[in-house]
């Protein structure tokens, strides 16, 4: 199969959803254009931005960092060591190696040193690991960005991630979550830093292909904590549909993002949801931020957490509450052990 763009070189990537196949050089152009168009259409970034890129060692975040650097953005990487035996060490190695290859050194937060490694925290508070992980990561993304005077936080969520989340929210009619799902969460007063997902237009296959062809050595093993993640069920369903009807995923997501979509109204106008939140959702902060995207209405600024000073709409932020639960459970276990 020949490249559909240059019509000379052999194709390396076939993309039925775009009715296209590209040689490596033309695919790089195509991919970067998809990302830059995604940034431009939703005004995710401006050239003056100082971007904190959250990197896990996986393909999406490292590819995102690579593209943003190539596009000339001022970036730094943030790696959060989750404290997962073996897996965290291997993913950190990938991040360090990639960063070094680009003359960078990532900012590293070690959750074990912070007193909240994910596996132990999950045992202590009897919550799903992914749910705890989401809360902890969001907390440090914002904290590191605010302390480091970054103007924006960028994560590697791609089209597959976003459509899986959308499907989950639709199946459970989580109208408040639907209203706050968007590749752009504006920042604001009170210490909230803008959050963006510049890979929202590209699929996991496209990101993996880009990483492979660019020689980016990413961790291919899955997080051992995410084996039972519900997002995988939705991804499976969507990939079956995509196999039979290429292009469905991007149509699904673009249709959802259409400003005229009634599901994109703010949470105050939507019915409340009873089902448990998706791991990625933050019940306190993100709801306020995304609703501002849609309505451009100022809903007041968050206050400061009584314990750590982070922005929150409660007295104490969800991270500090969780950390306190872990601390209590740990001391109870110690007390039981010493009896």
């Amino acid at each position: 199969m020949k490249c559909k763009r240059c019509r000379r070189a052999e194709a390396a990537v076939d993309l039925p959803s775009h009715h296209a196949a590209f040689c490596p050089d033309c695919f790089f152009l195509f991919f970067r254009r998809q990302v830059t168009e995604g940034i431009r259409k939703l005004r995710l970034l401006v050239p003056e931005d100082r971007v904190l890129v959250c990197v896990s060692g996986g393909k999406d975040s490292l590819v995102l960092w690579d593209v943003l650097m190539d596009e000339g953005y001022e970036t730094e990487g943030l790696y959060i060591d989750l404290g997962i035996d073996g897996y965290s060490d291997r993913s950190k190695e990938k991040v360090l190696a990639y960063a070094a290859s680009r003359g960078k050194a990532p900012i590293i937060v070690e959750l074990a040193k912070e007193g909240i490694p994910i596996p132990e925290a999950a045992r202590c508070v009897k919550m799903q690991e992914c749910s705890i992980c989401g809360t902890v990561k969001r907390y440090f993304f914002n904290r590191v960005a605010a302390e480091g005077k970054f103007t924006v936080v960028a994560t590697g969520h791609n089209l597959d991630d976003e459509t899986a989340r959308l499907l989950g929210n639709l199946l459970h009619w989580q109208r408040d979550h639907l209203s706050r799902q968007h590749p752009l969460l504006p920042g604001g007063d009170g210490g909230l830093v803008r959050k963006v997902k510049p890979l929202w237009r590209v699929s996991e296959v496209e990101t993996a292909a880009y990483g492979f062809l660019k020689g980016i050595d990413y961790v291919t093993e899955e997080c051992p904590m995410s084996e039972d993640a519900t997002s995988l069920v939705y991804k499976e369903a969507l990939s079956r549909i995509e196999d039979r009807m290429p292009g469905t995923r991007i149509v699904f997501y673009k249709g959802f993002l259409d400003p005229s979509n009634p599901l994109r109204k703010g949470p105050e106008t939507a019915a409340s949801a009873d089902a448990a939140p998706m791991p990625e959702d933050d019940p306190e902060v993100d709801a306020k931020r995304v609703s501002e995207v849609d309505t451009e209405e100022v809903r007041g600024t968050p206050g400061a957490c009584a314990s750590c000073g982070a922005p929150t709409y409660a007295e104490t932020c969800s991270y500090c509450r969780m950390k306190e639960r872990v601390r209590k459970a740990r001391s109870q276990r110690k007390a039981r052990g010493s009896r």
């Binding site: 996991e204 993996a208 291919t220 084996e227």
Partner: protein, 70 residues
């Protein structure tokens, strides 16, 4: 071990290896291995293969899952 009369299909994340008689197109090898095209990339050494690429006997290919969860 090198097998000149078969295609070796490695699934590194599952730590599995299949021997399938060739020649076959990548999409047929994926069907045989029970993998869907929208969830993997297929590589041969430093080359990325399209789904209609014909793989000859004796070749070794890697099928890498791209699905991330959590």
């Amino acid at each position: 071990m090198y097998n000149a009369t078969m295609i070796t299909v490695r699934l590194p994340q599952k730590q599995k290896k299949l021997e399938i008689p060739g020649p076959r197109r990548v999409m047929d090898l994926l069907a045989e291995a029970g993998m869907r095209p929208t969830t993997v990339i297929v590589t041969q050494g430093k080359k990325l293969l399209t789904k209609d690429h014909r793989v000859e006997d004796g070749a070794t290919i890697d099928v890498i899952s791209v699905v991330s969860g959590g």
